[in-house]
C-alpha cells in the first residue's frame, strides 16, 4: 500500500429537494482511499452510501466540495472528458450486476474496452484471462441469462477489471447473492485487488464482509466516522 490517495474528497455536501425543505444527505464528507487499500463504507439504508459512491466516481455532482482522482481535481471537467477518464480509472461492480442480456459473457466483459475504441486481440486475451481468474473458464460464450447470481457477479467483476482501473467501486456486490456465494465474491474481489495493488471501495450493509477490508468506515448522519 502506498501513500498516494487514489481517491480523495474534501467537504462533500449533497442535498436533495423535498416537499418543504431540502434533505441534506452528505454534510461535509472527507474521504481518502490509498493505493492498494480496501475500504468499506457501511451505514443505514438511506444514509447516502450510494450517493457518495456516485459523487466519488463523478456520476453525480456534489453541491459543494471537491473530488480528486490520483491527486487531480476532477469535478470541474466536462461530462465527456470525465467519462473517458472514469473508464480507465474506476471499475464498477453493482448489486444487480447490470449485465447486457444481448451480449454473451465475453461480450459483457469486453464492453468497457469497446467503449474506449476497437477491440484488439490482446483485449480478448485479457478478458478470457480475467474470466479464468474469476472461475468462469467454461462460460465464455454463454448467454448471461443462463448464469447464476454468483456467476453473473463474477462476470461483472471481470468487466470491472478489463480496463485495469486504479480502483474498484463495489456497491453491495453481495446484496443479491446468498451468504456462501457472497463470501466467494468478496474473496475474489479482495484477492484480485490485492494481487494487482488495486484499491477497493466497498459499499455494504454486511458487517462481516466490511470487516474483511483494510479500513472500515461508517456513514452516519451524512458524515464519515471511522
Amino acid at each position: 500500500m502506498s501513500d498516494i490517495n487514489v481517491i480523495e474528497t474534501t467537504d462533500i455536501v449533497r442535498s436533495f429537494p423535498a416537499a418543504h425543505a431540502k434533505i441534506e444527505v452528505l454534510r461535509g464528507v472527507h474521504l481518502k482511499v490509498k493505493r492498494g487499500q480496501s475500504v468499506s463504507i457501511t451505514g443505514e439504508s438511506g444514509a447516502g452510501k450510494t450517493t457518495l459512491m456516485y459523487i466519488l466516481s463523478m456520476l453525480e455532482e456534489a453541491d459543494s466540495g471537491s473530488v480528486f482522482w490520483d491527486g487531480v481535481k476532477v469535478n470541474n471537467g466536462s461530462r465527456g472528458e470525465v467519462a473517458k477518464r472514469r473508464a480507465e480509472f474506476i471499475g464498477f461492480v453493482f448489486q444487480l450486476y447490470y449485465l447486457i442480456p444481448e451480449l454473451d459473457v465475453l461480450g459483457n466483459v469486453l464492453m468497457p474496452r469497446r467503449i474506449l475504441g476497437r477491440i484488439r486481440k490482446e483485449d480478448k486475451e485479457r478478458a478470457e484471462e480475467l474470466l479464468v481468474r474469476v472461475g468462469l473458464k467454461d462460460r465464455l460464450r454463454h448467454s448471461t441469462g443462463k448464469l447464476s447470481g454468483g456467476e453473473a457477479q463474477r462476470v461483472a467483476i471481470a468487466r470491472a477489471l478489463i480496463n485495469e482501473p486504479r480502483i474498484i467501486i463495489a456497491d453491495e456486490p453481495t446484496g443479491s447473492i446468498d451468504e456462501r456465494h457472497g463470501e466467494e465474491i468478496m474473496q475474489i474481489l479482495l484477492d484480485l485487488c490485492k494481487k494487482d495493488n488495486r484499491s477497493l471501495l466497498l459499499v455494504t450493509h454486511n458487517q462481516r464482509f466490511a470487516a474483511m477490508t483494510d479500513k472500515k468506515l461508517v456513514l452516519h448522519y451524512g458524515k464519515i466516522v471511522e
Binding site: L59, R79, K84, R86, I115, N163
Partner: protein, 375 residues
Amino acid sequence: MVLIIVQTVMNGFSHEITKAMKDLNGDIRIEGEAFIQDYPLLLDLIERQRFVKVASPYAYGMVMVQHGNIPTFPQVRGMDLSRERDVLAIDEFLIQGALANLDDESVFLSSGLANTLGASIDSTVDLYTPLMLYRMKENDVLLPRELTVAGIFETGWSRVDGNSMITSLRLMQELYGMGDSVHGISVMLKNGEDLNDAVQELNFQLPENLHAYPWTESDRDLLFILNLEKTVMFFIILFIILVASFSIASTLMASVVRKTREIGLLGAIGGQPWQCAACFCLQGLFIGFVGTFLGIGLGILAVSYRNAIVQWFAHLTHSEAAFQMYYEFSDIPAVYMTGDFVKVIIATLIISTLAGLLPALRAARMKPSEALRNE
C-alpha cells in the same frame, strides 16, 4: 412498399399513355390554320430531311355511324395506307382483320366502338358526315355512306379504343369534301434523332402557314397532369412514411425506458452521451434499412403480380367491368425507374434515422446516476 408500387404504376401509366400518343400521332405532327393543299410537294420536302424516316398525310374529324338502330359519334382518321404503316403501328393494334383489307369502301373500328354498335368483321355500317348535314340543309337527299367493317383494332388506350375509327385517306377526303387536301402530316423520325432539334429544323424549312409540333405538345396538359400526379402521390405517401416513423420513434422511446439501466451502465463505464445517442440512432437507421429493403422487395413482388392481384380483387368485388370502363388500360402497366428507387431509399432512410433522433437525445441526456437508481 406502397411508395414503390405507386411510383412504378404511375410510371407505367405515364409510359403507356405517352407511347400510345406517339404510336398514334407519330413523332411530329405538321398542321396549318387551313387544309394543306399541295401535300405531295410538302411530303417530298419533309422526307428529304436527314432525320426523317417517313411522313404520312392524314385527315380527321367526327362522323355519325349507325349499325342497326344504334348511332354513335366516333372520331375518324383517314390515312394514306401506302405510307401510314411506317408511321403508325397499325398492324400491332389490329385484333381482327388485316391492313390489306382496308379500302375506300371499308373501315376499321376500335374495339369499344364495335362493341357499342354490335358490329363485327364484314358488318355494314352507315356513315353520316357534317358535309351531308350541310347538303341536307340545301334540300339535298341525305343518303348515308355504307361501309364494310374490315378490321377491329385495340391500342390498349381506352380513350382511343372507346370511340374511334380508321378509313383510307381518300375516303375521308371524300366524306369531308376536302378534295386533294389533308389536315396534317405525321412524321416519324429515324432512331436516335433528337425530337426538339427535328421540330426546330422542320419549322425552319416549312412554309409560314404550317407548323411542326412534337408529340409531347399534342397532349401537353395530360403529360403535365401525369407528372404532377406522380409528384403529388410521392409527397402524400411520404407523409404516410412520416406517420410510420412515429411508430419507430415510439418503439425506440419505449426501448430507451426499458434499457434505462443499460444506459446508466454505459455512462458509468465511460460511455459518452453521443455513444448512447448513436445506439438509438443506429437502431432507427437499422429499422429503416431493413424496412426499406423489405418494402422494396415486397413492392417489386406486388408489382410483378399486379394484374393477378387486381383481377382477383375485381372478381371478389364483382367490378371487372368497372375496372375496364374507368381505367385507361386493360392491364395495369408498370415501369421501374432507378431514380424513383433512389428517391424512396434516401427518403425512408433519412426519415427513419430522424425518428431515432428523439429517443437518442433522451438517452444522451439521461444522467447515469439517475438511470442506475432506476431499478
